[in-house]
Amino acid sequence: MKYIEEFRDGKLARIMARKISAAVALREYRFMEFCGGHTHAIFRYGIQDLLPANVQMIHGPGCPVCVLPISRVDLAIVLARMPGVILCTYGDMMRVPGSQGASLLKARAAGADVRMVYSTLEAIRIAQENPSNDVVFFAIGFETTTPPTAVAIKKALESNINNFSIFCNHVLTPPAIKAILNAPEETVRIDGFVGPAHVSAVIGTRPYEEFAHEYNRPVVIAGFEPLDIMQAILLLVHQVNESRAEVENEYTRAVAREGNLKAQALMAEVFELRPSFEWRGLGAIPSSALRIKPEYDHYDAETRFTLPSIPVADEGACQCGSVLRGIIKPVDCPLFGTVCTPENPVGSCMVSSEGACAAYYLYGRFRNISHQS
């Protein structure tokens, strides 16, 4: 654990902060950290305080709870209400508001059997213990949580567990970055990306090369420790100063260019691309999500149950969409901190501490306090 402490060391942080200050030129630097894990760390450790005023971090959409559109939450609630179904989900998803203020938590209070689990394997165990129920696992997440879901499906197949299925909402990182880069230039200018940590451990650094070469944006893959993030920012500043656009890897202790081939093979075996998937804030993005292959469709909740088609819902006054695209800061949303708080979230970005609104509320609210009414 001493190993981790080194990446949180205040003295090293000050040295790094001085290096960044010395490196910045007279211009603005706007970097997006894609991952919610990075957003969380930036707020939790107060990294913004260690950066010069002209280096701004824009919080990206890499929070799996945040990007799931209301219609998918609604579908999960439909599943949970079906007689005989036990819906298993990660804790954060319980509180995400669906349409008309519904949530899994409220569905549970009204009698649905919704259980909070920490892993897919726990959901499998629940299926084994409740043979007369249909156990559905509400799978969410980027490439990091996808291999465990694949493992669960294979385990269910091997052990002949037939009362288990997956409501698959796994999404992919590179198409989302591309969607942000393809947005009209005036919406948000981004000079470079702090690239995902755990996601890159699975997919490697190669998928980001397109952003450097074709979109001319530097990408630095960084670990989740605060010093990792500072180091990545320094590397980004250097690249911008030197007009370079490359993929650099700060997180070599976990990430290789090719990624984790075994995990990739496992994913390819069980999942295939969806032609298109709706993201909160980013709209429909082609080839941006996974579904379960037909060979495994017995384990696919979407084919196993007859689900209604739920239209793309209006987000109402919540501005999560703009927050997720980095267009506004959470405090610019009129509901922030007044109507919308972690106890009573109006939008998904206020639910998970990886969401920008919650991170801002929990850790950073003393900044820009004047924006609040």
Binding site: M1, R8, G10, Y45, Q48, D49, Y118, T144, P342, G364
Partner: protein
């Protein structure tokens, strides 16, 4: 005697009388109990009385460093002591689930008796109920305490003022971490012990050092340090700035919390206190704390400041600044 509690032990009949006689009366023995009345009568000392009550539910019932029994005694003594009062008497109520092992009950009761007598406090009245299997989680213990506040002492959560110093009596997160490590059957090559302890003697020493310099005092149990600081901030309408590097914490607790996905600032303590003091008295009080075994790691961790938003802010060890928020919901492990 049988080996497990059954419903007859709560029925008011012979079995119950025997249980009380053999387990409770022998362990807690004192003059008032020996009179075998339904209440304890005692002289009321002059001054203000402090009274508190608390229910204890914990799983596992026995954990490294303690058990539900000593926890129930120490916890209530501490709630009394946090007003500056000297704790005098306790009552103890037991709700026991049918099937609970009598040996375990005996162990718990002995642990309570040991803690009470070590603290010089008598358990003077009590009650036992037995509930059907499935209607309780083994055993619940409720203790109520009474104490007397010395002349001139005025400690309350709404008395913090800008400029006051914030003191903590020792390493934080020990109790909750010990319980979580045991509950998850983990082993990190280190032993984790609950810090459960009665704090009234430490408090006495602090009051001796400065009877009027102590403004607020509370033991950061459930919700941990972060919750207690936020309670003070809200009650006193002030803000705080604490320094993460000054907060005493064991390295192994920090590592275990990291592994369990917990924030030690929110992890329960059972033998620590937070005091908010007049800045002039703070060094005296700190010295007094450090001279006591239960306060040897005491530290000044920050300062009270004016803040209309009542934020508790922290300068992180990394060098940035952030809010230390009220706990929202359960602490959950991250999934990404």
């Amino acid at each position: 005697m049988e080996s497990r509690i059954d419903l007859t032990h709560g029925s008011g009949g012979r079995a119950m009388a025997r249980l009380i006689e053999e387990i409770f009366l022998t362990a807690f023995d004192n003059d008032m109990l020996r009179q075998r009345n339904d209440q304890a009568c005692f002289e009321v000392p002059p001054g203000r009385l402090a009274m508190t009550t608390d229910g204890y539910v914990i799983s596992p019932v026995f954990f490294p460093g303690g058990d539900i029994g000593c926890l129930a005694v120490n916890g209530t003594i501490n709630d009394i002591a946090m007003s500056g009062a000297k704790p005098l008497y306790l009552s103890a109520g037991f709700i026991i689930e049918e099937g609970f092992p009598i040996d375990d009950l005996r162990r718990i009761v002995h642990s309570m008796a040991g803690s009470a007598s070590a603290a010089g406090v008598a358990i003077v009245t009590g009650d036992t109920k037995v509930v059907e299997k499935g209607k309780g989680d083994g055993i619940f213990v409720t203790t109520t305490g009474i104490g007397v506040v010395p002349e001139g002492v005025c400690i309350s959560g709404d008395l913090a003022q800008a400029g006051d110093k914030i003191l903590v009596s020792g390493t934080i997160g020990d109790h909750g971490t010990a319980v979580m490590v045991r509950r998850n059957n983990l082993s990190f090559g280190a032993t984790f012990l609950s810090d459960t302890a009665p704090l009234h003697d430490l408090v006495r020493r602090m009051l001796d050092a400065s009877p009027r310099g102590l403004h607020c005092m509370r033991d950061p149990t459930r919700g941990g340090l972060a919750t207690t600081l936020n309670e003070f901030a809200a009650q006193s309408h002030i803000g705080m700035l604490i320094m993460e590097t000054e907060i005493p914490m064991k390295v192994e607790v920090k590592s275990a919390c990291e592994f369990l996905g917990l924030d030690p600032l929110y992890v329960a303590n059972e033998g620590k206190l937070i005091a908010i003091c007049d800045p002039a008295a703070a060094p005296l009080i700190l010295d007094a704390m450090r001279s006591h075994p239960l306060g040897k790691d005491a530290a000044i961790i920050g300062e009270v400041q004016e803040d209309p938003n009542h934020f508790v802010q922290m300068v992180t060890a990394f060098g940035g600044r952030r809010i230390v928020q009220w706990l929202t919901g359960e602490q959950l492990p991250r999934i990404c």
